[in-house]
C-alpha cells in the first residue's frame, strides 16, 4: 500500500452507476432480518425489567414452561459466568446486558427469554415468569450519578484513569493537555465560558433487531441477523455462549439502518441458546418499543468549555470538561469525544477531560461518529460566540486556527494531508454563504471531524468463465458499499461495473472482516478488493503469456485487455479479459484473487456545514430553510452515495438538534418509545440538503479514499444551534431546541410573558 495514484485517469471511479442492490430494495424483494423463516420455527420473546434499578432475588420459569406451546426458557443461569475484565468490549458486561444476572440496571433490561410455538404463546409465557426484585434507588442522570452518596450501580467499579478507588459511578476519565491553560486565558482579550447539555438520543434505524437461529444436535449453529458485522456477532455469541467460533455461522441479512446501533448483540445469543434448548429454530424480532427501551442509545452529555482569544482572533487557550452518560454499563464514547473536541484546531494551551459515567438508562451503543457530535456542539457553539464577540466572520476565525498537515492532534499523532481548510474555503465561497437573510432568520456554521478506521478486511475476487466477476467481502452494505467495491474492482479489471457482482458473504465464505463501521468499508475493504483484483491481473498476464508463448513481462494489462508490452517486439492481437477467462481451463485453472489486510492510514475526514433557519417567535418553531454540507472525501468512488452519506448525516444531526430526545420519568421509565413521540425529522421537515464534495486525496489509499460516513453527523448540532442563536438572539446551550424550550428562552431573554 501507500502508492500514490493522484494523477491516475479513472474510467469508473467517480461515476454514478445504479447500486447492484437497488432494484431489490425498491421493489421489496430484498430480504431483511425479519424476512427469514424456517420450518418448525419457534418464536422467542424477552421478559424485560419493570424497574430501572433492582437486585434480582429469584427468577422462576416453571409456570411459564408448563404453558402448552412453550418449548424453552432462558435466564442468565444458562449463560457461562464471565468474570468482569478490561478491554473495549467487556464481555462480562455484554453478557449481563444480554440477560441481567445480579441486578437489572435499566427499565427494559432483558431478564429472561422464552421460545414458544407462536409469539402470542411466548408473550403469555412471559407473564407467567416469576421474578422477585429488590428495588434500589434510581440513578437518573449525570448529576444523580456523581452526587455525593449516590447509589452505586456496580459495586466493583473503579475509575479507569482516575485516582479515586471507588465505589463510584465514574467508569473512566480521559485527559489530554498541553501548555498552560491559565496563562493562556490570562493572555486573552476575550473569553467565552459556557455549559452545554445534550439529551439521550436514539440511532433511529427503521429496521428493528431480528435474528433467526438454528442449532443441530452436533452443536453446529447458523444465525441469520441484521447486523453491521457478522464476524462481530459470531465472536460475541461464541464468547457469551462458550462455543467454538467454528461452531457458528452467521449470515448477515440486508440491514435497514444501523448507524452504530447494530455493532453489538442483544437477542442474537438468546436465539441460539433457545434454539439449542428447544431443538428447533428460533426467531426473535424486537418490536419498536423494545428497540427504544433496550437498544442504542446515544449518550446524553454535559460539557463545560472555557475559550480565550486575542483581539486578532488567535485562540490562546481552551479548557474542556465533558461528562457522558454511559447508561447501565460503562462504555460511552467519552474518550473519543475528548480526542475529537479540539482536533480541528491548533491551540497552544488546552486541557481536556472527559468522564464516562454509569446511570440507570439503557447501555449506550455506538452512534455514527460516537461522541463527536456532542463534543462539536459544545466547541463549535463556543467558537461561534467568540467570533461574534470579536466581530470576526465565523469562518475566518476557524481558518485562523484550522488544523493542517503537520498539526499535532490533542491525542498525539500529527496530521498528514487533511482537507479542513479546503472545506472552510469552499463553504466561504459558496453561493449559500453569500445569500441574504430575512427577518427572524439566521445562519450557522460548524466544523466536524472524525478519525475514520482501518481494521481488518478480506476479499475474494472470482473471475467467471465469461469474463464477469464476483467480489465477495464480509461487510454488510449499509449505504452503497456494494457499489463502491464493485466500482473499484471494475477499475482494476477494466470491465463494466455491472459485470461485477458484489456479494456480502457469510462468515464461512470469506475471511475475517471487521464490521461495517468507523467509515471503513470503502477505505479498508476497498483496499483488499483492489489487492485481490491486482492478483487476478497478474494471473491474467501470465495466462496471456502462456497463450502467446512469451514471458509474462512481455504482457501488459490495459483497459481490460492483455496487450503486448511496449518494446516487447510482440505483434499479437490484444486478448480481452473475457477471452483469457474462457481459456482458463487450458492455461492453469480458475482465476481467482484473494486478499486480506489490516488497513492502516485511514485519512481523517473534515466537514464544514452551513445552515439557515427561520424562527417563529410566537411558537418557538424552527424551520430549516437551507443547508449545505461540505466535506473532504479524499476520493469519491461513487459521488452519489458520498453525497447520500453527507445528506443522511446532516438530516440525523438536524433531528438531534431540533426535536430528538428520549424522555425518562423520575423512575427511569422511557416516556416516548415510538417514532410518534421520538420526533425524528420526516422528509418534509428538511430542505434539500446541498452538498459540496472536496477531494484532498488520502496518501494512504491507492485511490485516495477517506471514509465519509460518520463526519456528516458531527457539525449539524452546532450548525443549527448557531443559526438559531443568530436568528433569535438567544444563546442555545441545551439540545434539542424544541419549540417549548426555545419559546421559554425567548421569553427569558425579553423578560416578557405569554
Amino acid at each position: 500500500m501507500g502508492e500514490e495514484d493522484g494523477e491516475r485517469k479513472f474510467r469508473f471511479v467517480g461515476t454514478r452507476p445504479i447500486r447492484h442492490d437497488g432494484v431489490d430494495k425498491v421493489t421489496g424483494r430484498a430480504q431483511f432480518g425479519a424476512d427469514y423463516s424456517l420450518p418448525g420455527m419457534l418464536w422467542g420473546r424477552v421478559l424485560r425489567s419493570p424497574h430501572a434499578h433492582a437486585r434480582i432475588v429469584r427468577i422462576d420459569t416453571r409456570a411459564a414452561m408448563a404453558i402448552p406451546g412453550v418449548k424453552a426458557a432462558a435466564t442468565s443461569a444458562d449463560l457461562p459466568e464471565i468474570e468482569p475484565g478490561p478491554g473495549p468490549a467487556n464481555l462480562a458486561h455484554l453478557s449481563r446486558n444480554v440477560l441481567a444476572r445480579e441486578k437489572v440496571l435499566y427499565h427494559g433490561h432483558a431478564v429472561a427469554a422464552i421460545a414458544a410455538t407462536s409469539e402470542a404463546v411466548a408473550e403469555r409465557a412471559l407473564l407467567a415468569i416469576e421474578v422477585e426484585y429488590e428495588p434500589l434507588p434510581v440513578v437518573l442522570d449525570l448529576d444523580d450519578a456523581m452526587a455525593p452518596g449516590a447509589a452505586i450501580l456496580h459495586e466493583d467499579l473503579k475509575t479507569r484513569g482516575g485516582k479515586d478507588a471507588g465505589p463510584t459511578n465514574v467508569a473512566a476519565i480521559t485527559e489530554y493537555d498541553r501548555g498552560d491553560v491559565d496563562a493562556g486565558l490570562a493572555e486573552a482579550d476575550v473569553t467565552v465560558r459556557r455549559s452545554y447539555r445534550t439529551q439521550t438520543v436514539h440511532q433511529g434505524y427503521i429496521e428493528p433487531h431480528a435474528a433467526l437461529a438454528q442449532t443441530g444436535v452436533d452443536g453446529q449453529s447458523v444465525l441469520w441477523c441484521c447486523t453491521q458485522g457478522a464476524f462481530t456477532v459470531r465472536a460475541y455469541c461464541a464468547a457469551l455462549l462458550g462455543l467454538d467460533v467454528s461452531q457458528l455461522k452467521v449470515i448477515p441479512t440486508e440491514i435497514g439502518g444501523g448507524f452504530g446501533g447494530k455493532t453489538t448483540v442483544y437477542q442474537e445469543p438468546l436465539a441460539i441458546l433457545l434454539a439449542r434448548k428447544a431443538g428447533r429454530p428460533v426467531k426473535m424480532v424486537m418490536n419498536r418499543e423494545e428497540v427504544f427501551r433496550a437498544t442504542g442509545p446515544g449518550a446524553a452529555t454535559h460539557t463545560e468549555i472555557e475559550l480565550g482569544a486575542r483581539q486578532d482572533g488567535t485562540i490562546t487557550a481552551a479548557r474542556v470538561r465533558m461528562c457522558f452518560e454511559a447508561g447501565g454499563f460503562p462504555g460511552s464514547p467519552a474518550g473519543a469525544a475528548a480526542m475529537t473536541v479540539l482536533a480541528p484546531y491548533e491551540i497552544p494551551n488546552y486541557a481536556i477531560e472527559s468522564l464516562d459515567v454509569v446511570c440507570n438508562k439503557p447501555r449506550t451503543a455506538a452512534y455514527r461518529g460516537p461522541g463527536a457530535p456532542q463534543a462539536a456542539f459544545a466547541i463549535e457553539s463556543a467558537l461561534d460566540e467568540l467570533a461574534e464577540k470579536l466581530s470576526i466572520d465565523p469562518i475566518d476565525l476557524r481558518l485562523r486556527c484550522a488544523a493542517k498537515q503537520g498539526t499535532r492532534t490533542p491525542y498525539g499523532p500529527t496530521f498528514k494531508r487533511i482537507g479542513l481548510i479546503e472545506t472552510l474555503e469552499a463553504a466561504r465561497d459558496s453561493s449559500h454563504y453569500k445569500a441574504p437573510l430575512g427577518p427572524d432568520q439566521g445562519r450557522g456554521i460548524a466544523v466536524g471531524f472524525w478519525f475514520n478506521a482501518g481494521l481488518n478486511s478480506s476479499a475474494e475476487v472470482h473471475l467467471n468463465e465469461d469474463g464477469t466477476a464476483i467480489v465477495a467481502t464480509g461487510n454488510p452494505d449499509l449505504s452503497g458499499s456494494r457499489a463502491s467495491l464493485a466500482i473499484m474492482a471494475a477499475e482494476e479489471l477494466g470491465i463494466e461495473v455491472h459485470r461485477v457482482r458484489p456479494v456480502v458473504a457469510d462468515t464461512d465464505s470469506v475471511g475475517f472482516t471487521d464490521l461495517s463501521g468507523g467509515s471503513r468499508v470503502t477505505f479498508a475493504t476497498g483496499q483488499a478488493v483492489i489487492d485481490a483484483c491486482r492478483q487476478v491481473v497478474r494471473e491474467l498476464r501470465q495466462r496471456a503469456a502462456k497463450i502467446w508463448d512469451c514471458d509474462p513481462d512481455q504482457v501488459d494489462f490495459v483497459d481490460g485487455r492483455c496487450v503486448p508490452a511496449k518494446g516487447s517486439g510482440l505483434s499479437e492481437e490484444p486478448l480481452a479479459l473475457a477471452e483469457v477467462a474462457r481459456q482458463a481451463g487450458r492455461t492453469g485453472g480458475p482465476i481467482n484473487g484473494q486478499a486480506q489486510l489490516t488497513a492502516r492510514g485511514a485519512g481523517p475526514s473534515f466537514a464544514t456545514h452551513l445552515c439557515d433557519v427561520e424562527v417563529d417567535p410566537e411558537t418557538g418553531r424552527i424551520e430549516v430553510l437551507r443547508y449545505t454540507a461540505v466535506q473532504d472525501a479524499g476520493r469519491a468512488i461513487h459521488p452519489g452515495y458520498v453525497e447520500g452519506q453527507m445528506q443522511g448525516g446532516a438530516a440525523q444531526g438536524m433531528g438531534w438538534a431540533l426535536n430528538e430526545e428520549l424522555v425518562f420519568d423520575t423512575q427511569g421509565v422511557l416516556q416516548n418509545p415510538g417514532f410518534l413521540d421520538y420526533r425524528m425529522p420526516v422528509a418534509s421537515d428538511l430542505p434539500m440538503i446541498e452538498t459540496v464534495v472536496v477531494e484532498v486525496p488520502n496518501p494512504n489509499h491507492p485511490y485516495g479514499v477517506r471514509g465519509v460516513g460518520e463526519t456528516p453527523i458531527v457539525p449539524p448540532l452546532a450548525a443549527v444551534a448557531n443559526a438559531v442563536r443568530r436568528a433569535a438572539g438567544v444563546c442555545i446551550t441545551r439540545l434539542p431546541i424544541s419549540p417549548p424550550r426555545l419559546l421559554a428562552a425567548l421569553h427569558d431573554e425579553s423578560g416578557g410573558d405569554s
Partner: protein, 378 residues
C-alpha cells in the same frame, strides 16, 4: 379423528348459526373442502387469502398445512398485506353490508366488539395490546358509510369515508376548506387512504384534527343503534379521552354538516413540532361569517388537544362577533381560548406551552377564515 373448527362470525349465517364444527382431520385444504360440501359457498365466502391459527399458532398461506386430530382451528383474515402481525389471534372478523347487520353484530358482541373502518388507530392499539377485541366489524362495505354528498342544504359524509376521498372533492373543499385541510393533516399519504372521518371522531382523541373543524361547522352525528337512529351534535359526541356517547351496539353512520351562510368560511390550524406524521400539540378551528360592512357577523371557534375533549369556545366567538376583527378582538378571543383550555403536561408538550400556543393558533386561524370569507363571493 376430527378437529374442531371455529366458525368466523362473518360465516356463521352461512353455517346455519354454528359456532364450532367438528371436521375430519387432514390438511387445511381438505377441511375447507369438507366445510364447503356441508355449507355450500363456504370456500367462496372465505376468499383466496386467509390465515389460520392451529391451537393458537398463526400460519400464513396455510393451504397445505396439516391439521392433527384434536386441534382447534381458527380462520383469520390476512391483515397488512399478509405480513405477520401481532394482532390478537382471537379476534373474529365480519364485514356486514348494511347498517342493521352491523348493529346486530355489535350489539351481540357488546364490549368485545369494535368497529373497524380504516383501522389506523384500532390496529395500532391491538398491536400494542391496548385493546384486544373478540370481534372486528368492518364497516367499509356498507354503502351508507361511504357517502360523500354535497346537497343544497347539507353535506353528508359517511363515517367510513377516507380522508383521501374527501380531499378529492373540489366543491366540498371550496365550501368547507377548513374541514378538508383538517382531514388532510392526518398521518401520511398512505394513512390518508385508510383513515376515516368517523374513526377520527370515534377514537375519542382530544387531539383529533377533524373534530374542532367539525365542531365549528356545526356538524351532527347520525348514530344507529339497536333501538333505532339518533342524532348527536359533534360538540357533544366525545366525553373524554377515548370516550364517546356511543352505547352498546351503536354505530356512527354519518356526519351531516349544514351548508354555511353566504360570506362564511372556515379554517383549521394545528401546531406540531414536525411538519407531518405528528399529533397536534394544540389545534384551533374557526368559522367566520362576515357582514356586508366587513365586520364579523357570526363566529364559531373550537380548540383541540388542550382539554379532555375538543371544545367549542363561545366566549371567543362573542369576542369576535360585531368586531372588525382587529388586533383587540383577536387578542380577546385568544384570551378566551386560553381561559377555556385545560391542557395536560406530557411528553408531547408542557401544559403552559399548549395554553400559550392555542391562543396564537386561534388568532392565526381566525385571520385565515376571515380572509377566506371575504374572498368568497356572496
Amino acid at each position: 379423528m376430527t378437529c374442531l373448527v371455529e366458525i368466523p362470525t362473518a360465516l356463521r349465517a352461512l353455517c346455519e348459526g354454528e359456532l364450532q364444527v367438528q371436521v375430519p382431520v387432514g390438511n387445511v385444504r381438505s377441511i375447507v373442502r369438507a366445510l364447503d360440501e356441508r355449507f355450500p359457498g363456504f370456500r367462496e365466502q372465505l376468499g383466496q387469502s386467509f390465515a389460520v391459527a392451529i391451537d393458537g399458532e398463526l400460519i400464513h398461506d396455510p393451504w397445505l398445512e396439516p391439521v392433527p386430530a384434536g386441534t382447534e382451528l381458527h380462520f383469520l383474515p390476512v391483515i397488512a398485506g399478509g405480513q405477520e402481525t401481532q394482532v390478537s389471534v382471537n379476534a373474529a372478523y365480519a364485514a356486514p353490508e348494511d347498517v342493521e347487520a352491523a348493529v346486530a353484530l355489535l350489539a351481540e358482541a357488546g364490549s368485545q366488539g369494535r368497529v373497524l373502518a380504516g383501522g389506523t388507530d384500532l390496529i395500532v392499539q391491538m398491536r400494542t395490546g391496548q385493546c384486544s377485541p373478540q370481534l372486528l366489524v368492518d364497516v367499509k362495505r356498507i354503502p351508507a358509510l361511504g357517502v360523500c354528498e354535497l346537497g343544497t342544504e347539507v353535506l353528508r359524509l359517511g363515517a367510513a369515508l377516507s380522508s383521501a376521498v374527501l380531499r378529492e372533492q373540489p366543491e366540498v373543499r371550496r365550501v368547507f376548506p377548513g374541514l378538508v385541510e383538517a382531514a388532510e393533516l392526518i398521518g401520511s399519504e398512505q394513512v390518508q387512504g385508510r383513515a376515516s372521518l368517523g374513526g377520527n371522531l370515534c377514537n375519542g382523541s382530544p387531539a383529533a384534527d377533524t373534530v374542532p373543524a367539525l365542531i365549528v361547522a356545526d356538524a351532527t352525528c347520525i348514530v344507529a343503534g339497536p333501538t333505532g337512529m339518533r342524532e348527536v351534535p359533534v360538540a357533544a359526541f366525545c366525553t373524554g379521552p377515548g370516550e364517546t356517547v356511543l352505547g352498546t351496539g351503536e354505530l356512527l353512520v354519518e356526519l351531516r354538516v349544514p351548508r354555511p351562510p353566504a360570506r362564511t368560511s372556515d379554517a383549521y390550524l394545528r401546531f406540531t413540532p414536525r411538519s407531518e406524521m405528528d399529533i397536534a400539540v394544540a389545534g384551533a378551528a374557526a368559522r367566520l361569517e362576515l357582514g356586508d360592512d366587513g365586520r364579523c357577523r357570526g363566529a364559531r371557534v373550537a380548540i383541540g388537544a388542550v382539554a379532555p375533549t375538543a371544545l367549542l369556545v363561545p366566549e371567543a366567538a362573542e369576542a369576535l362577533v360585531g368586531s372588525d376583527l382587529g388586533e383587540d378582538a383577536l387578542e380577546a378571543a385568544a384570551a378566551a381560548v386560553r381561559a377555556a383550555s385545560r391542557p395536560i403536561d406530557d411528553v408531547r408538550a408542557p401544559a403552559a406551552f399548549r395554553t400559550h400556543l392555542v391562543g396564537v393558533l386561534s388568532k392565526r386561524v381566525v385571520r385565515i377564515a376571515a380572509s377566506r370569507a371575504a374572498g368568497e363571493p356572496g
